[in-house]
Amino acid sequence: MTTEKTRARHETLDLEEADLKSIYRAMLVARRVDERSWILNRQGKAAFVISCQGQEAAQIGAAYNLRPGHDYLYPYYRDSGMTLLLGQTPRGQFLSLLGKKEDPNSAGRQMPGHFSSRELNIVTSSAPVGVQYPQAAGTALAFKMRGEDGVVMACGGEASTSGGDWHEAMNFSGIHDLPVIFLVENNVYAISVPSKFQVAGSIAKRAEGYGFPGHEVDGNDVLAVYEAAKEAVERARRGDGPTLIEAKTYRMTAHSSDDDDRRYREREEIEAWRLKDPIIRFEKYLFENGLLDEDEKEAMDAEIKAFVAEASDYAENAPFADPEEALDRVYAEV
C-alpha cells in the first residue's frame, strides 16, 4: 500500500507494512498485559504491579532494532514491552506477576518486572537502580574483543542516570567505543520526585562530554524512537561506538501498585499526557496512512485480549514452588 504524497515516515525508515503491524501489535500486547496485571492486583491476586503504560513507544521503537538471542538486552523493571517483543510471553509475565514456579525470570524469587532470559540474552535484572550500566558496558566489551557484531542495549528511567554507575559506564563506553546503546526512558517522575529535582541540565546533552552522540527524542513517537535507535544500533554494529538516547515520555500510572500518586502530581497533568498516549498516536498514524482500519484493529485487540486472558488464567492456576526450593541454586556447581 502506497500513498500518493511524499514518502511516509516509515518508508524513509525502510519499515514495511508488516513491520508496522508487528510494532503496533507489540505495543498493544504490552498495554493489555499491563492492564490485566492491574486487574489482578485489584482482585487481590497480584501483590505488586509495576507498569509500562505510556512507555510502549519508547520500548518497542528501540527494541525493534535488536536481534533477539544475539544482541544483549539489559532491561529495567518497566520494560515488559521490550521483553515481550524479544520473545518473552504474556504467560511468562503473569507467572512472574503471581510469583509462580514456572515464572521464567526467577521461578517466583524476584518481584515482577525483574526480567531474565538466558536464551534471549535478556540479562537477569534486579531492583537496585543503575547497576545494569557497567554490566552492559562489559558485555559490549566482550563483543568488541571477539570482533563480533553484537550490540547491547541498556535501559533505565531518568533517575537511573543520577547514580554513579551510569556515569562510570558512559565514560568507559566512550573510551573504548563500545557497541552499547544507553536508552533512558525519561518519564518525568522517579516515584514522586519530578525530573527537575532529579536531573541537572540535560541527559541527552551529556553524551557529548563523553565524546559520543546523544539524542533527545519524543518517546511517545514510536517511529522517532525507532529511527534514533536504528542509527545507534547500526553505529554500534559498525564498531563506531556508543549512543545515548533520551526518550521523553510519561509514566501514565502510579509508580507501582504500592504508590498513591495523588500525593505528588496533579490529575490535569496526567490527563494532558493521556492525550499523547503513544498507542493512540501510532494508531492515528497507521489510520492516516491507510495501514490499519478500525475493524482490523478491533480484531487484533480482541485476539490479544483473549490470549492475554488465557495467559493470565494459566498463571492463576499454576502452582507455587515448594517452600524448600528457596534453598536451591545459591551456588552453581563447580
Binding site: 501483590a47 533517575a159 516515584i191
Partner: protein, 328 residues
C-alpha cells in the same frame, strides 16, 4: 502520653528534633511531598519546607556524602535510605568516610549524621526489599549501629542518634512499622545508644534478639512460661555496634544458656559476634551450647509467599530451639 506505632514514633521523633533544633534536616528519596514510601516523613516538608526536607536524586552515595558535608558545616542531617538493600552505593561514604573522619583527623572533625534505613523481610518485598544488612556495618569502629524494636525506644533512640556527634546507622524493621502500638512519651525522653534492654526476666534461658524476631521470641517466651513454667530472659541489644556486652553477659551468667535469634542470613550475622563474646567471656557459666537461629544462607527472601515464609525463622522453630536449650 499517646499510643503510637513504630512509624508514628519515628515520625514524631523527627518532627520534635526539627522543631527544637534548626540545624536538623532530612534528605533522601521521596521524603518530601510523598512523605516517604512508608510515610515516615509525612507532613514534614509542609511544616519545614523543601530544603529542610529535601528530595534528593536517586543516588545513595550522594545522600550520605552530602549529609557528611552538611554536618561539617553546621547541620545535623538525617539521611533516609529508602530500603536498606539500597545502601551499598553509600557503603564507602559510611564506612570509609563518616566513620573515620573523627579518628583520622585526631578528633578535629565530627560527623553528626543519622542514616535511617528500613530493613527486613516484608511480604512482596523479595530479594531487594528484604535484606537484613546489619552485619555489613558491625565491623566498623567509628560508626554506631542501632536497631530499636519498640516504638518508644525508637523515638528516644532516634533523638539520641540525631544529637550524637558520631555517625549513627538507624535500622528500622519495616514489617514492624505498624505491628503494635504502645505509649510513647511526648518529649525529652532519651535512651542512650549503649544500653541493651531486658524485656523479660527469667532464670532458665537467655534469648537475645531484635526486630521482628524479638516479637516472636517474646511471644514464645510467654507461652513457654505459661504452659511449661520455663522462664526466659529476653534481652534486646538495641544498639548492635558497639554493643552493650555487659547486659548480655550478666544474663547468660545467670541462666547459663543462650539463644540468639535474628532474621539475617545466619552465617556471618551479628548473632555470631554475640555468640563469640559469650563463649569467650561467660564460658564458665555456660551449661549448653550457644545456639543461633537465623535465615538460611540464601541471598534473601523470595517474592512468592511460601518461599518467603520459609525463609523467616518461624515461631515453631524458635520454640523448638528454646525448648532444646531449656531441656539441655
Amino acid at each position: 502520653m499517646a499510643e503510637k506505632n513504630l512509624l508514628q514514633a519515628i515520625h514524631d521523633g523527627l518532627a520534635e528534633e526539627m522543631r527544637s533544633d534548626e540545624s536538623v534536616m532530612i534528605l533522601g528519596e521521596d521524603v518530601g511531598r510523598a512523605g516517604g514510601v512508608f510515610r515516615v516523613t509525612q507532613g514534614l516538608q509542609e511544616e519545614f519546607g523543601p530544603e529542610r526536607v529535601l528530595d534528593t536524586p536517586l543516588a545513595e552515595s550522594l545522600i550520605v556524602g552530602s549529609a557528611i558535608g552538611l554536618s561539617v558545616n553546621g547541620m545535623r542531617p538525617v539521611a533516609e535510605i529508602q530500603f536498606a538493600d539500597f545502601i551499598p552505593p553509600a557503603f564507602d561514604q559510611i564506612v570509609n568516610e563518616a566513620a573515620k573522619f573523627y579518628y583520622r583527623s585526631n578528633g578535629a572533625w565530627t560527623v553528626p549524621i543519622t542514616i535511617r534505613a528500613p530493613y527486613g523481610v516484608v511480604p512482596g518485598g523479595a530479594l531487594y526489599h528484604s535484606q537484613s544488612i546489619e552485619a555489613w556495618f558491625c565491623n566498623t569502629p567509628g560508626l554506631k549501629v542501632v536497631a530499636p524494636t519498640f516504638p518508644a525506644d525508637a523515638k528516644a533512640m532516634l533523638k539520641s542518634a540525631i544529637r550524637d556527634p558520631n555517625p549513627v546507622l538507624f535500622l528500622e524493621h519495616k514489617r514492624t512499622y505498624r505491628l503494635i502500638k504502645e505509649d510513647v512519651p511526648e518529649d525529652g525522653h532519651e535512651v542512650p545508644l549503649n544500653k541493651a534492654r531486658v524485656h523479660r526476666e527469667g532464670g532458665d534461658i537467655t534469648v537475645v534478639s531484635y526486630g521482628l524476631m524479638l516479637y516472636t521470641a517474646l511471644e514464645v517466651a510467654g507461652k513457654l512460661s505459661e504452659e511449661l513454667g520455663i522462664e526466659t530472659e529476653v534481652v534486646e541489644p538495641r544498639t548492635l555496634y558497639p554493643m552493650d556486652r555487659e547486659t548480655i553477659l550478666n544474663s547468660v551468667k545467670k541462666t547459663g544458656k543462650l539463644l540468639v535469634i535474628s532474621e539475617a542470613n545466619i552465617t556471618g550475622s551479628v548473632s555470631g559476634e554475640i555468640a563469640a563474646i559469650v563463649s569467650q567471656e561467660a564460658f564458665e557459666w555456660l551449661d549448653a551450647p550457644v545456639i543461633r537461629l537465623g535465615a538460611p544462607d540464601v541471598p534473601a527472601a523470595a517474592f512468592a509467599k511460601p518461599m518467603m515464609d520459609f525463609f523467616v525463622p518461624s515461631a515453631e522453630k524458635i520454640e523448638a530451639a528454646m525448648l532444646e536449650l531449656a531441656r539441655y
